[in-house]
Each structure stands twice: as C-alpha cells, then as structure tokens.
Symmetry: C2
Subunit: 397 residues, 2 copies
C-alpha cells in the first residue's frame, strides 16, 4: 500500500466529512447524513461525471481505510456505552427485549411473505434467508444521531440501545436456525441453543465480570504514570470488548458498547493525567468516526442499483423492513413513551444484513439480484433514519 | 485483513508501549527507548522463547499497523514543526547547513573507505552505496527525545532539526549521484541538478507559499462551524505536506515538519472550537506515535544479525556512522553551543538508510549480508541515541 494514497484519502475524507456535516446542519439535517452523502458523492464520482473523474473509486476498496473506519464505529459505540448508565439501561430491559423480539419477528415474517408472495422467488430457502436479512438493526447510525442531539439520556434512547444489543443476539440465533434449515433441512436445536447460550452468556457474564474487575484493572493502569495511559486503558477496553464479541459471533460494536458499560468516569479519576476521559477521547472520535460514515456512503454503488427489477422489488422489501421495525417500537407499551421514535431508531440495517446476505450468497441461495436489493435496503434505511429520527426526537421532551 | 487481529495488535502495542515508557522513565531512561525495547521484545518473542511463543511475529508484517505507525511519525514531526518558530530556525540556518554537509560528507567518506579498506568488498560501486547509506539522519527518534525533555527551544535542537531537513535533501542528491555512477558509469550532472533544484525548491517554495496562504485557508476552514474541523484542518495540512514531500522524493516527515512550520497557533484561534490545537492533537499523538516506535522495535530481527561477520563488520560501520555524525556537530562552530549534543542528535539512521540499501539491493550491488549490516547499524544508532542524548541535553543549560 502506498502511504501517499492513504494520506490523501484520509485528508479528503476528513475535510469533505466536515464540509458535508456543516452544510447539512445548516439546512437543519443531522451532520451524519452530510457525511453519508459526501461518501456517496466520493464513491460514485466516476458515475456522476460519466467516467470523467476516475479517482476516488479506490475509496470503496482500500483495506486500510475500511479497517480505520471500523475502528471508528467501535469507538463510537464505546463512547456511547461509557455515557450510558447500566442501571438505567436495565430499568428498560423488558420493554427493550419486547421491542427487539417484535423487531426481529415482524420484519422476518414480512420478508418471508413478500419474497414468496411477490414471486421474487418461490424457493422456501430463499424466502427464509431474505426474511433473516431484514432482522438485524445496525445501531451505529442511530447512536450517532442520539449523540449529536444530546438525547442519550431519554428512556427512548435507552430502549433503542438495549433493543439493538438484544437484536444482535437474536440475529445470531436466527442465522443459526436458518442456516441449519437450509443446509440440513431442519432447524438444529442443539447448535441453536449453544449459539444462544454463548451470546447471552457472553453479554451478561462479560458485563458482570467487567464491572466487577474494571476498578482493579484501572488501579493497575493508574500505577503506569506516563502520558497517554488513560487513553491506552480506555481504548484497550474498547478493543478487547470488540475482539471478544467478534469471537462469539456478535458484532464488534456490541462488544465495544458492553466495554463502555463496564467503565465509569469514576474509574478514570485516579489517573495522574488530569484531563477527563471525555476530553481525551473526543479528538480521537473526531478523527475516526467521520471516516466510518463516509466509507459507508462510498460503499453505495449507484450504477449497480439501476435496474427496474432491483429498484421495484427492493423498494417493497425496504418498505417491509421499515414498517416492521416501526411497528416494533410500539412493543414498548404499556410504558408511556414516544413509540414512533423507538421504532424509527431501529430502522437502519447495515453490516449484519449484508453479512447474512453474503452467507446466503456463499450457500448459493442469494443471487446477485437479490443481493443488490439488500444493498438498496441497507442504503435507504441508513439514509432516511437520521433526518426522520431527528424530527421525531426534537419533538420529544 | 481481520479486524480482531488488528484490534489485538493495537491494544497490545498501546498498553505495552505505555508500560515500557513508564519502566524506562523510572530507571532514568527516555520513554522512547522503552517503547523501542518493547517492540524488540514483541517482534522477537519467538526467538526469545525458543519458538514456544509464535504470536506477535505478525507485528512485523502487518500492513495496517505499518501505515498506522507511519502516520504516527508524520504527526510527530508535524507537531514539532508547529512548535518550532521558523524565524528562530532560520537564525541557525548557516550552522545547521554546515552540520548537515559535514554530517553527509564524513560518514560517506568513512563508509566508502571502510568498505574498501576492511575488504567488506573491493567493488567501487558497493563502497559508494555503503557510503551513501551512512549519510541520512532519521530525525524521528531525536525529535521525540527533544520533545519529551521539553528542549525544542534550545539552539542546539533547532540546529539538529534544520540540519536533519537539509540532510534529507542532501541524501536525495547523494542517491542521484551514486545511482548515476553505478548505472551509467558517471555522475549524471543534469539529473542531479534537477533533483537538487526540485528538493530545495519544494522546501523553500513550499514554506513560503504555505506561510503566505495558510491564514487564508484557515479562514475558509473557520467558516465550517462544526465539531472537529480544527483537527481536520491541522491533519489535512500535515498529510498534504507529507504527500507533496514524498512526491518530490523527500521523506514524508520532512513535508509534515514543513507543514507544521507554515502554521501557527494564531491561525487556529479564530475557530468556533475553543480548545487549543495542542489539546486537540495531543490525544491523537498519544495514540499514533507510540505505535511508530514499537513498530520500529519489532522490525529488529535478532536472529538475522547473529552472524560473526555481520556483527563484526556491522559494528565497525556503525562506529563510523556514529563517529561521522558526532564530529559533524562541531561544524556548528564558531557558535558557542553544545556541539556534542548536536552531533549525537544527528546519529540515528532509519528509513532513508534502509531505502538506499534496498535500492542497492535492487540494482544487485548490496548483498543480503551487507543489508543485514545496514539493519544492525540502523538498530544500534536508533537505540543508543535516546539515552546518550538525554544525558547530554540534561547537562545543557
């Protein structure tokens, strides 16, 4: 890899991201939407200019930038975990679980039914996989909107975050069941049970051990009296959480969020370094996080979506994906909350949907056309959430 | 690339770097030496444990970590450029130029003479190349020691930084001349003149244009009133400088240093964001810079150096490399300065020496054995400088 090219990419991404964020904020839109749009423009420069500008296509494929961007979303969720209070989060545990379950079941059923009903495919296995790809919320977009609006303390926000974590575990279980049915013709209950136990065990056990052990570990770090050790301790925790989550099969961001939950500002006070963790982490976020959202934008390949079939069928599936999660918000009842904001916050689909679709592609079940529909779905749910969620959240309280 | 592996590497490097820095500081050694030693231990874990621990060898080869580390040293030199006052630097322009010239001529002559005299090779071309590899100072190590000790304001430090920049240009010219002689049998004066003009033109022109244009560009950035734009503007400048320098054939760090020279704290005051640039950049440095020094450490392959010939001949060349730069410090005369500190600050050789040696290898002139000697030389000059320089600098004023 050429260092100049990577420096150039980072420079363009950083500056364009700030410009996009600023312009969108000016017109009353969330900054993250500006970053996404900047990414779409950069990634599709060749398309928009009829091939005249061929640069920037490497933004889509560069591995360094992709990993850099993944570190960005890990840091984002870690920060949000840090700012979340675990006891407050547990208070909304039941409504969050209901939202998660309904938000998995409904989109799954709708996806299955539409795939069969619309004749997208008459294959039972294909319908199962398409249902599965509609299940998992990708919480990065929503988390960013909540953070930018300073609304992380709302009960609605806590339910969204809690439901997104549970949702990720449910997604794993769905994948285990669907893969079992597709490959062996029947759901493999013992392997599904193992997957479920591992995932829930990791989350609950991990957070319990983490909260118990964190003060001791931090005391050890406090003995290393050298500049930057606070940052190393924090990022070390975030990365460890992400690594462990990935090992279990969960999204790395879920692990980073859990790591953030295990840590409190209190533990970071005993350090030699007097600046708060918040002050130290924020420049790191400012560098890494925009790269994530711009890179998501660049991954949209407009030319691949311009087929009537993909646009038409894809839109219907997208509508199902949106509607399923929107309705799931109402599962927070009987609490008196803004159900619509909760449902909207759950709409974005991302990596997990794409991972499911890739798995289906690997098994020979998902065709390129179907895969493109999933890409369209990920794109639309990602782009519409920030503006709509902002409108609803600004109304709340 | 696997994100888990990279997160694991970053986590280990960060935490181990802090531990190493702390322990070495405790025993009165510069923290950077601790980071280097940590790198050597991690990179040679298989060697130290007789093959029992095979992990960590990937630290040497991982591309992501290498690029991440290069960004680290770019940020370090940019920061030092920011903290340097260009008019103060120009005041020591003549002594710095003298130190640079003597520091190129002496090691070159010594390297040439020893290669022939010791019978390392009787080939004129080999001796020329070995002489060339001894010329270029790698300023990263010294810059870090100066920064850690808070000694950047000494005239000695300014001379070292100025001489290192000139030295890099001289290194380019030496390479052009030597390559010309080796490939065509004679020094190609017109191409050498072009290389020299381009390099000096870039540095002088770049800094002039940069200092003239920076306030206007910064005013544009100030209009982008969004979180993190100050950081984006600063890193954008650093990266642009590095990219342009690389394009000319100079080390990217020289460009980053020049970019830092073009910018002043004043230009960063008009931003919406009230935190100083220093406060914003320092967590970024704390994350990236240690990675650079640990990665340098991991690149030391102890097993490759354990041959009597390499150790013996390599040590003599290393002595010549050290002695040549040490004497060059006295070229700052007739100023009344600590010549020894200046000379010692110029001792570290790094990437540039390795690049010259690789070029020689590509041309079939430098053998694997000779290359290993150069590696030994880079390693020893890198490791001895921090402790010795600290002792001398602590005496000064």
């Amino acid at each position: 890899m050429d260092i100049s090219l990577i420096l150039f990419e980072l420079m363009v991404i950083l500056i364009a991201a700030k410009l996009g964020a600023f312009l969108f904020e000016r017109i009353g839109q969330p900054p993250v939407l500006g970053e996404l749009v900047v990414g779409i423009i950069l990634g599709n420069m060749a398309f928009f200019t009829n091939g005249a500008v061929q640069w920037f296509t490497f933004f889509r494929t560069d591995e360094f930038i992709h990993i850099f961007s993944e570190i960005g979303v890990i840091i984002l969720l870690f920060e949000i975990g840090l700012q979340s209070d675990i006891s407050e989060l547990l208070k909304v545990g039941f409504p969050a679980a209901r939202v998660a379950v309904v938000g998995v079941v409904l989109p799954f059923a709708l996806g299955y039914w539409l795939t069969m009903g619309l004749g997208i495919s008459s294959d039972f296995n294909v319908a199962l996989f398409m249902g599965a790809t509609l299940t998992a919320t990708s919480v990065g977009i929503t988390a960013r909107v909540l953070k930018d609006l300073g609304k992380l303390d709302l009960s609605e926000s806590r339910i969204i975050l809690g439901a997104a974590v549970i949702d990720d575990v449910l997604g794993l279980i769905v994948l285990a069941i669907v893969s079992g049915i597709v490959t062996t013709g029947a759901a493999n209950f013992s392997s599904t049970a193992i997957v479920s136990l591992k995932a829930f065990g990791f989350l609950i056990g991990g957070v319990l051990i983490g909260r118990w052990g964190a003060p001791y570990v931090m005391k050890l770090f406090q003995k290393i009296e050298v500049q930057g050790v606070k940052l190393a301790a924090a990022l070390g925790a975030a990365f460890l959480g992400a690594i462990l989550a990935k090992k279990i099969g969960l999204a790395p961001i879920v692990g980073a969020f859990a790591a953030g939950l295990c840590l409190d500002d209190v533990q970071f006070r005993g350090f030699n370094e007097k600046r708060s963790l918040e002050e130290i982490i924020s420049p790191i976020s400012d560098l890494f996080i925009p790269v994530f959202f711009v890179v998501i934008g660049t991954s949209v390949q407009i030319e691949a979506l311009l087929s009537k079939e993909i646009l038409w069928m894809g839109s219907i599936l997208t509508f199902a994906a949106i509607f399923g999660k929107y309705l799931a918000g109402f599962a927070a009842y009987p609490r008196k909350l803004d159900f619509q904001s909760i449902g909207i916050g759950m709409i974005p689909r991302g990596e997990v949907g794409l991972i499911f679709a890739s798995e289906g592609k690997r098994l020979g079940i998902i065709t390129d056309t179907l895969f493109s529909m999933v890409v369209l779905l990920v794109m639309i749910t990602t782009l519409i959430t920030p503006p709509i969620l902002s409108i609803f959240l600004k109304r709340t309280k």
